[in-house]
Amino acid sequence: MADVTAWQRTSPLAALFYLGKVYQAIARNAFQSLAPLAAFVVAYKGDPLQSLLVGGGLFVAVTFVLAFLNYWFFRYRILEHSILIRQGVLKKKQLDIKFDRVQALSTEQNVVYRFFNLLTVTFDTAGSSGQEGYLPAVRPEVSTALAACIRRTSAAAGAEVGRTQKPEPLVRLDIGDMVRIGLSSGRVFLLLLLLGPLGEYVSEKYGERLEETAVIETLGAIQIGFAAGIAFAAVVAFVVVLVLAGVSITAALLRYHRFELFADDEVLRSTGGLLTRHENSVHRTKVQSLHVTQNVMLRFFGRFRLGARQASSGKASAGYSFVVPLCRREELTKLSDEFFPREFAGLALDPRSPSFMHISPWYLRSRILLAGVLPAAGSLLLLWRTEGAVALLALLWIPLAALGVLQVYRRYGFMCRKDGMAFRSGFTGFRVVAWLHRKVQRVTVTQSPFQRRKHLATVRLHLAAGPAVKIPFLEYDTAAALRDYVLWRVESSQRAWH
């Protein structure tokens, strides 16, 4: 193995990684560059194809040079307790990432890197809102050495060491699970939403030309009955849904093919991916909260999605640092014990658990008034003069809103145990977030004028990851007791929160 303690260069193939980053940055900031580009195209007097070729060639050349320069100026050095990274072309930057601050170490291997046996290693640290450091195109030995350094640092901080053999996976997903992930993914609906306006644009732009084509003329000549028309529409809809489901299942295959989750000393590690192989790892001690979601499709399949959030001192990140895309009910308990060993007793991640307690029923009155009665009364007043009695139809909104509020109320539930809490919410599906009291950063108890009259309060528990957990409409005494108990647990805890 090469001496990794000296200053090292990555493989020249790291330029590919930077090329990807440059294009990602361009894609992210494309909106800003669209206006000057459009102005240039409009103002240009010459041959647009020629200008496109020259411009495109220049653009590609510049991005390649940029990517190469980024590779050229990148150096790293692994020390006993940290890794030093020097990078930057014009603006030089030196990162000193302490191993004890590393929350997770992830590796990624795309098709090209797999061919050359290279990896991209990324570090998540508590001091960043996202991934802080990365080593593109390095040998797997570097990743192994880094993992060993991080494990050694954790061991010095009290964790156990001693993994010698590959453990049995806690979760293993098969091809059937890929179908379940694909079908339960929100991407299907997102694609439908995107296809709607696109279809409208295409029909507007090319509709007239299409109508002139022989195929459409032939189709137009065929007299189809009403039932046949309905059947045709149904077939088209079915094909669209089938295609979208296919796209979503393919995406699941690409990201999670042969997904496995291992418990490895103090680290949980997952691997998966068809073309690009991803390996993510997370220190159990760094996990701040667990999130279980179950949408309608997952309910149909009897499966759950589990996410773990780690600390970030930047903006409250909505994403999860670590995801188990699919697991069974019986695996939930096993996994929660893996993430929060010995401290999760009595807490349930299963949204169907009878241990969840309801919030105050005054929530119903408050929200029906706000979301139902007020908008309906406002619409009635606005429409009465112009529409007359028809405006009374606005009142139909009240029972609809009441049904929605009732559904949300039934989903709300919380449970508090000696070491932690869980909170359930949702509308069509379920969402459960669970955390340990000692991980809480601060507590806020809020009362609206209505809540003060009814002796109620809303509790917000701020964790080091993600937005605050808001438990609405608790009895004030319960809210105050919860705040005092959590504070006592935080202040008397001898264990670190991170």
Partner: protein, 174 residues
Amino acid sequence: MFENSEIALDELPGAESLAWRPLDSRYVPRLQIDALITTAVIAVIVLAVQYAPLPIDIRWRSWVPWLLLPAFGLSLVLWPLLSVPRKAYALRDKDLFYRSGVLWQSVTAVPFNRVQHVETSSTPLDRLFGHAALQVFTAGGSGGDLKISGLPADVAEKLRLFILEKAGADLEHG
């Protein structure tokens, strides 16, 4: 070994009988001056818009802002009379409480052993009144997690040092 002993909630240190400390009494006039400055700036902007050569004619309803502006300015000037007495903080051995809000009233508690860093800041107007703002940061939040404005500058500095000392002690012992 697994333990599951019962917790007597009544014996826990409660936050119901806290000795709340109010903000500096001169914080009300300080906020009222702020309100007057804000109103004056808006008035200048309205004047500039009314006399600027704009492509659309908005002069026909030029009286509307002059009707709304005094009402807006007055509400801004009067609001501190209601909001400042509601704001108060309480210091315990292991945490800091802050109370605020007129309609939506909230009480925030920050345990010292979760404090990442503490900051004091003051604007020129703050310095004129001898005030400073104390910001307490915990992990995961964006911006100041707890901000107490309108403290006498020396009190803010004392609080900063006290919290830092407490947070440091917890780091050493925890």
